[in-house]
Symmetry: C2
Amino acid sequence: MTRDTKRRIQLSHGGGGVEMNQLIRKLFFKYFSNEILIRDEDAARLEISGPLAFTTDSFTVSPRTFKGGDLGKIAVAGTVNDLAMAGAIPQYLSCGFIIEEGLAFSELEQLVQSMAAELEKSGALIVCGDTKVVPKGTADGIFINTSGVGQCIAAPSWTKLEPGDCVLVSRDVGRHGACILASREGLALQGDLASDCATLWPDVKRLLDAGIDIKAMRDATRGGLSAVLNEWAASRELGIEVQQQQVPIAQEVQGLCELFGFEPMELANEGTFVLAVSADQAEQAQALLQQSQPSAAIIGTVVDAHVGKVVLTTPWGSQRYLELPKGELLPRIC
Amino acid sequence: MTRDTKRRIQLSHGGGGVEMNQLIRKLFFKYFSNEILIRDEDAARLEISGPLAFTTDSFTVSPRTFKGGDLGKIAVAGTVNDLAMAGAIPQYLSCGFIIEEGLAFSELEQLVQSMAAELEKSGALIVCGDTKVVPKGTADGIFINTSGVGQCIAAPSWTKLEPGDCVLVSRDVGRHGACILASREGLALQGDLASDCATLWPDVKRLLDAGIDIKAMRDATRGGLSAVLNEWAASRELGIEVQQQQVPIAQEVQGLCELFGFEPMELANEGTFVLAVSADQAEQAQALLQQSQPSAAIIGTVVDAHVGKVVLTTPWGSQRYLELPKGELLPRIC
């Protein structure tokens, strides 16, 4: 084996034989090590009781490294966040790699390290995995799927939304989308336009521990804030009124959106969530969220009117619908 | 929208907006419909109690349709089988699609139909999913990840292997690998060389219902029978003796292996499993397996000797090691 073949992923690393075993033991077990994983059975055996949340996401983000994160970080945070949004403790994750032949081993190791570091933010464990290697040209570098299970300790659901509830965002919106856009355009931006990519469980836990009754909660990923609000309004057959000037948007994000003609509320986030609580808990929830993100804000209200619609009140008092995004302006955002 | 764009997957089908919602509702909810899935939350909420098995697999098989199955069938059967091998009821599956822009909608629908048909064999439900669409040229058609959870009703594990245990295979080996090889080589083979791709839960359930104490069990996927036996021998630090003439191999598989220089015991299977039981239950187990596959056979014994090795006794009485496969002769086998 030459030095070069040692340092790149080969088809044999996905072949089910000697080389795959080495990859699993020397790389994945090294960084993800935990008692369940190293038992090395076809399936992990979990001692856990219901109700459980179960979720899956595949990650294909391009570029794979961006300011504030990388594919590994997003792959862990994304699934941990889906569990957190379901009111579940992020306990156990699976990890499925689809790797293009020829990927530098050092890049894979970097991504795996990044995953391991992000797991520590919530305490979740990777307990089972799968590795496929596909021939050069049949995938772009590496795709990662993570699925997750965890015990539910709350039951937020859009079905609980009621007129009068307040809608909050956990921080300023649109950072991840803007950051990826800037990376692709090769923009050397002033300021600090990093992705919001982050594990949200500590914030959710803080709210739950304080006794906040979270009625509905969702992270504003693809389709952004706009998609979450529209889906809630349509599913629950209620309206949602949003005060545009209350929606926190960083200046760099706003600037980039003006330059490229994007709507910040449609841009993807990877560490920002939307929640609804009853009016009497809204300020407390905001204050709790502001402990980690000072930009957290109460942005609107659930109403009886405009059934199925999200209505934006502009700073000038005029109103317009905020529509569910259409088309695809930023593929491979996550 | 022209007729043609209607019929192919667009980047917008993975964008988190209108088009993705339509794809989810009109295709995935249509075929996978169940109460949990259509609640349409970020994560499925399951009422289930431990111990649970949790497993994941990504599927990249090429060609996507082969004699005896397709990517959809293998994606469901593969994960259902990993649960079954863990002694778990295959209850809940997740499904993550990574689709290349431009995939024919009709092919996606065919794969989804195939998945739905295979789910019926075990009663498993797809309860959550994710769809990513990547630009043309960055993936080859479609990759599917499925993860699964289910309640364990038995606890097979290689840790339970003891000298004297009998080793069985549930049917003749090497069919899937041989079938994919034949498809790629464009061979018009005589006979009926179909993949063994199948859901194994009914066979496992029949064994458990009859009171068979399955000590260890694993489906012989990548690396084939050889990989399973070698991993067991190495992990448990015992030897395994196999009588070569007892290992069932179909004539078409044997013929193809001779033509291409493959070892049938290293070829992947997708509906064939290896199990170990105590000697006094071996014949009963074989008889139960033969109810669905007449070729099921007792092929060997766990022994104290040759620690960590698998020893094959040839029909002429000589012995050789059966090694853990090396390299990769058939990429994208599953």
